[in-house]
């Protein structure tokens, strides 16, 4: 059964490879520029060469045919080669531009964001004398909006790194429970504001896991953020951490808006946001789960979920226990 499925998948992949229109759309190029089209041109050229050889060997007494045929073949091969070269140069240049963008964005965007962060922090802590409650609230709002912007820039940078296979994770022994507790400390006040209760079920003594502290924290934050964002006021979020053979498993269950059945397969896609999610909550980029999946898998774990629209979702992931 599994073999049949794989065979069918291979066949579908093969058919998809020759869907020139889709390929052109995906890569943002013209149909005649797609790799598959060029592959076909190469194939046809090979057939022509074979036919020409056959034809010439039968009529070898006519050298002019040989010359014309060879000229034609050389011209076709030359044109195709030129096109392929041109696209490779274009692709390399694009890739280089993308890397440069990542480093420029990382420095140029973060510098003013850091300045806003520190200036507002100064006002909220050291220089708050003389400011009334309303003014302090305004500054707090600026601070938290700026934090959102920093997070967005970080997400975009992470996605760019994932796309270039340059997301480097430092694998080390990590106290997973401590990370979850730190994230909860930040998230509980936000949840309280919306009258959402958060419950945690875990043992106090848990083994260390293999992870990159900051990146694992991003995964936990993303899952908590989603649960709070898509749960109605008065809702409940339940978190469970348990040991399962060589893995530590984290599970977060909410009774929020859930994901429509027809969109379940797209949840981990980059920039994907389900229709009901966009209706319910306009804020969100659709990058959180894409980043989470890449981090977890790169660390040797797995991420999965169950969801029913209007009932809720359960997101889980596992990380290998450190030996």
């Amino acid at each position: 059964m599994e073999f049949c499925k794989n065979k069918l998948k291979l066949k579908l992949d093969f058919v998809n490879d020759f869907d020139l229109e889709k390929q052109a759309r995906d890569l943002g190029i013209k149909i005649w520029q797609t790799p598959s089209f060029l592959f076909i041109v190469f194939g046809v050229t090979a057939v022509i060469i074979m036919l020409a050889t056959y034809f010439i060997s039968k009529n070898y007494e006519s050298p002019e045919v040989l010359v014309i045929a060879e000229c034609l073949v050389v011209v076709v091969v030359f044109i195709v080669e030129m096109l392929v070269n041109k696209f490779i140069v274009q692709l390399t240049r694009l890739n280089k531009m993308k890397s440069e963008f990542v480093s420029i964005a990382s420095h140029q965007l973060r510098t003013p964001l850091s300045a806003i962060k520190w200036e507002t922090e100064l006002l909220l802590t050291k220089f708050k004398k003389g400011l009334d409650k309303k003014q302090l609230k305004n500054i707090e709002n600026i601070y938290s909006i700026n934090q959102r912007m920093i997070r967005l820039v970080n997400d975009l940078l992470d996605v760019a790194r994932i796309d270039q296979n340059r997301l480097i994770l430092i694998k080390q022994k990590v106290d997973f429970l401590k990370i979850v507790e730190e994230v909860m400390e930040e998230i509980i006040p936000k949840a309280k504001l919306r009258n959402i209760e958060i419950e945690i079920d875990t043992k106090k003594e848990l083994p260390m896991v293999v992870g990159d502290k900051e990146k694992v924290q991003i995964v936990v934050e993303n899952l908590f953020d989603n649960a709070v964002k898509y749960t109605n006021s008065g809702g409940k979020i339940r978190v469970k951490i348990s040991k399962n053979k060589q893995y530590l498993e984290f599970e977060i269950k909410d009774n929020g808006v859930g994901i429509p059945e027809e969109q379940i397969g797209r949840v981990f896609e980059k920039f994907f946001r389900s229709d009901n999610a966009t209706r319910y909550q306009t804020e969100g980029t659709g990058l959180g789960l894409y980043i989470a999946k890449n981090i977890v898998e790169q660390l040797g774990g797995k991420i999965w979920f169950k969801s029913i629209e209007n009932v809720g979702s359960v997101f889980s992931f596992s990380l290998p226990i450190s030996r």
């Binding site: 990382s106 420095h107 973060r110 850091s114 922090e121 920093i150 970080n154």
Partner: protein, 121 residues
């Protein structure tokens, strides 16, 4: 009173950090480029140096090299405070002798002061 030298070319960031540190009872010295930074470090011998990487005249790595090769100040702890966070930059910083590496946008001033106090202990 402990003396901290901030080598940072972005004026807003430099002033915000200096104001916070002054409020926390540190004496603050400042340099807006790498060359001046090395000069002040040698002349004033601060207790700790906070160093950016992208700087005019001499970048943070050059400054770090010069600090670590000067017998009089080579033991001064250096905290790199930057918005670059590639693995290569972090590795290079530690190889050259940085004590800590912090990403500006990820750290509150309060947390930077905590790191400074931990380093000075």
């Amino acid at each position: 009173m402990k003396r901290i030298l901030i080598i940072e070319d972005e004026e807003t960031l430099q002033k915000a950090l200096a104001q916070y540190l002054t409020e926390e009872k540190f004496e603050v010295l400042s340099a807006m480029d790498g060359e001046k930074g090395v000069e002040i470090a040698i002349l004033e011998k601060p207790d700790l140096i906070i160093l950016d990487i992208i700087l005019p005249k001499k970048d943070g790595f050059q400054v770090l090299d010069e600090i670590k090769s000067n017998n009089e100040i080579k033991k001064t702890p250096v905290i790199l405070l930057t918005n670059l966070e590639s693995m290569e930059d972090i590795q290079k910083a530690f190889e050259k002798g940085a004590t800590t590496y912090l990403v500006k946008s990820e750290y509150k001033l309060e947390d930077i002061v905590k790191k400074i106090n931990e380093t000075l202990k």
